[in-house]
């Protein structure tokens, strides 16, 4: 069934879009990532103009994150206080990111910026996660029953403005979470993603939050930052396609619920290895596109 999208102005198969939404929704529920890093490039492949793909995926992420976070609220695995701190940073970062995005758009290099951001960040995060989770899995196999030491003192614990985050069992400075929020917000605006794939590892490895509250808390922050991004795109560029978003989110919200259930049945290390591999595959695909000589050197500019 073909469907004509009013803002993207292309005709696309509705079932393909539903499927895309569903896959991304499952990932969203399983890993607590918005899935934007996957849906944005996938939308390029089905022929949606890049500007529309970036803006619309932001809108779609809002829906799948709302659905995901409600499931986490019921299980009380959201650290609201941490969520608000991350959100403040996120909104600041988003505003900065939009400025950078528009500056590079004026220079005509926004495609390159977006792709390079994807390759660099997905590559680093994916590799780090893969190495770490394989190591963790080996440890678990070697000496069963061994508990990881949580109260490790690092530089993070020596900063001022300390705050108590009860749900996470942390007493740390607000500076690291705000900085994490700013970085994630910036990348979200530039790459058209929620930023969960960066925030989740940052929360685990830098902030030292327990894995069970990480996903719910990151979803909470992502809802508001992507909502802010959606508004910016809709207001300045008119590139949010409501029809496209609606189809994606029908698939997405169903997928998110399924994903949450799958996530509960898998071990944290297994989840992390799968996410790491997925991130690396997307990174590799985008990286190859930059390295392989294109068959057509020219392209028609989209305004």
């Amino acid at each position: 069934m073909q469907i004509f999208l009013p803002i993207a102005e292309v005709s696309v198969n509705a079932f393909v879009l539903l499927g895309l939404g569903g896959i991304v929704g499952i990932l969203s529920g399983m890993f607590g990532v918005g899935g934007g890093f996957l849906i944005t490039p996938l939308l390029f492949f089905v022929g949606i103009p890049p500007a529309v793909a970036v803006a619309t995926s932001a809108n779609q992420i809002v829906a799948s994150s709302v659905s995901g976070v409600l499931a986490h609220f019921k299980r009380k695995t959201v650290d609201l206080r941490m969520g608000w701190v991350l959100l403040i940073g996120g909104l600041i970062g988003s505003a900065i990111g939009m400025q950078i995005f528009n500056l590079l758009k004026a220079l005509g290099q926004v495609d390159l910026l977006v792709t390079l951001c994807y390759v660099v960040f997905l590559g680093i995060i994916g590799a780090l996660m893969l190495v770490e989770s394989i190591r963790a899995l080996r440890r678990a196999k070697g000496r069963p029953g061994q508990r990881r030491e949580r109260t490790k003192h690092t530089w993070v614990h020596n900063l001022p403005f300390k705050m108590k985050f009860r749900a996470s069992g942390l007493y740390i400075s607000v500076i690291p979470p705000v900085v994490v929020g700013v970085v994630v917000g910036m990348l979200g605006a530039i790459m058209g993603v929620g930023g969960g794939f960066i925030m989740v590892p940052a929360m685990i490895y830098i902030l030292g939050m327990p894995t069970k509250v990480v996903i719910g808390t990151s979803l909470f922050q992502i809802i508001f930052v992507t909502a802010f991004n959606t508004m910016l795109h809709a207001y300045t560029n008119h590139t949010v396609d409501m029809m496209l978003a609606l189809i994606l989110l029908v698939g997405g919200v169903i997928g998110a619920q399924i994903g949450t259930q799958i996530g509960l049945r898998l071990k944290a290390e297994q989840l992390r290895i799968m996410l790491a591999l997925l991130v690396l595959i997307v990174c590799l695909k985008l990286g190859l596109d930059l390295l392989i000589p294109p068959s057509e050197l020219y392209s028609i500019g989209v305004i």
Partner: protein, 248 residues
């Protein structure tokens, strides 16, 4: 200069002293509505040749049908390898080119008309699309890309002519149409010149929900943004509730 002027004059006046044959034509539809399930459209163009005298037998009669989509300023980007990766290094603003161009004729256009006629009436894609920038690699790339995407097309035997009097053709409009007026020309040719022409427009427009959403997004962006978020919120909450009920 003078020679060119005389040639142009002769070509322009040609229909007057050859006006023995005229074209009468109509379209199956002169309005294309882009609805939610729009998947391209096929337009039937048909007509007849009106004559006062008998059919001339000394030369062949041909019919050419062109459809030109709305014109827009085009920018072409060129990639090159920099620091090992392929990046856009050059932007060229080309000028106004049609988003869609289709030529159908009874036989290859080059066999029907002489080059001067083509230059005057801008019939082949080479004449129609930014002919003043001919030879520029970016312009050739624009034609190459649009041709590969099926937006610039030609049908060498796309028009059927019956007993030198009745003709018909069908133009397939693709699904990714740009809104606007599609100028449709029907040209009658003999001896390498154009005898008569008929021109009309096909209006391509979004309708219904498509029209409403597009207008809202552009005229009331704040409202549109809020509506998108509301929709996203409801969908997310709704799905969560439905699944809660199912699991009970």
């Amino acid at each position: 200069m003078m020679r060119g002027f005389v040639l142009a004059l002769a070509l322009t006046l040609a229909p007057l002293w050859l006006a023995a044959e005229e074209v009468v034509a109509d379209l199956s539809q002169n309005r294309v509505s882009i609805t939610a399930n729009f998947d391209g459209s096929e337009i039937l163009i048909f007509g007849a040749i009106k004559r006062e005298a008998a059919i001339p037998t000394d030369s062949d009669l041909d019919v050419i049908v062109t459809v030109t989509g709305p014109k827009k300023m085009e920018t072409i980007l060129r990639k090159a390898r920099r620091f090992g990766i392929w990046v856009n290094v050059e932007r060229e603003r080309l000028g106004h080119a049609p988003s869609f161009y289709s030529v159908a004729a009874t036989r290859p256009v080059e066999d029907i008309i002489i080059p001067a006629t083509d230059a005057l009436w801008k019939i082949t894609a080479d004449e129609q699309i930014l002919s003043e920038r001919r030879g520029l690699p970016a312009r050739e790339a624009l034609i190459r890309i649009r041709t590969a995407n099926g937006l610039y097309r030609r049908a060498n035997a796309g028009v059927e002519l019956n007993q030198n009097t009745l003709f018909n053709t069908s133009i397939a409009l693709p699904a990714n149409l740009v809104e606007g007026a599609y100028v449709t020309r029907i040209l009658l040719a003999r001896n390498g010149l154009i005898l008569d022409d008929y021109s009309t427009e096909i209006q391509v427009q979004k309708v219904g929900i498509e029209r409403w959403l597009y207008n809202l997004a552009h005229n009331n962006a704040l409202m549109y943004g809020l509506l998108s978020l509301l929709l996203a919120g409801i969908a997310g909450w709704g799905a969560s509730e439905i699944f809660r009920l199912i699991r009970r």
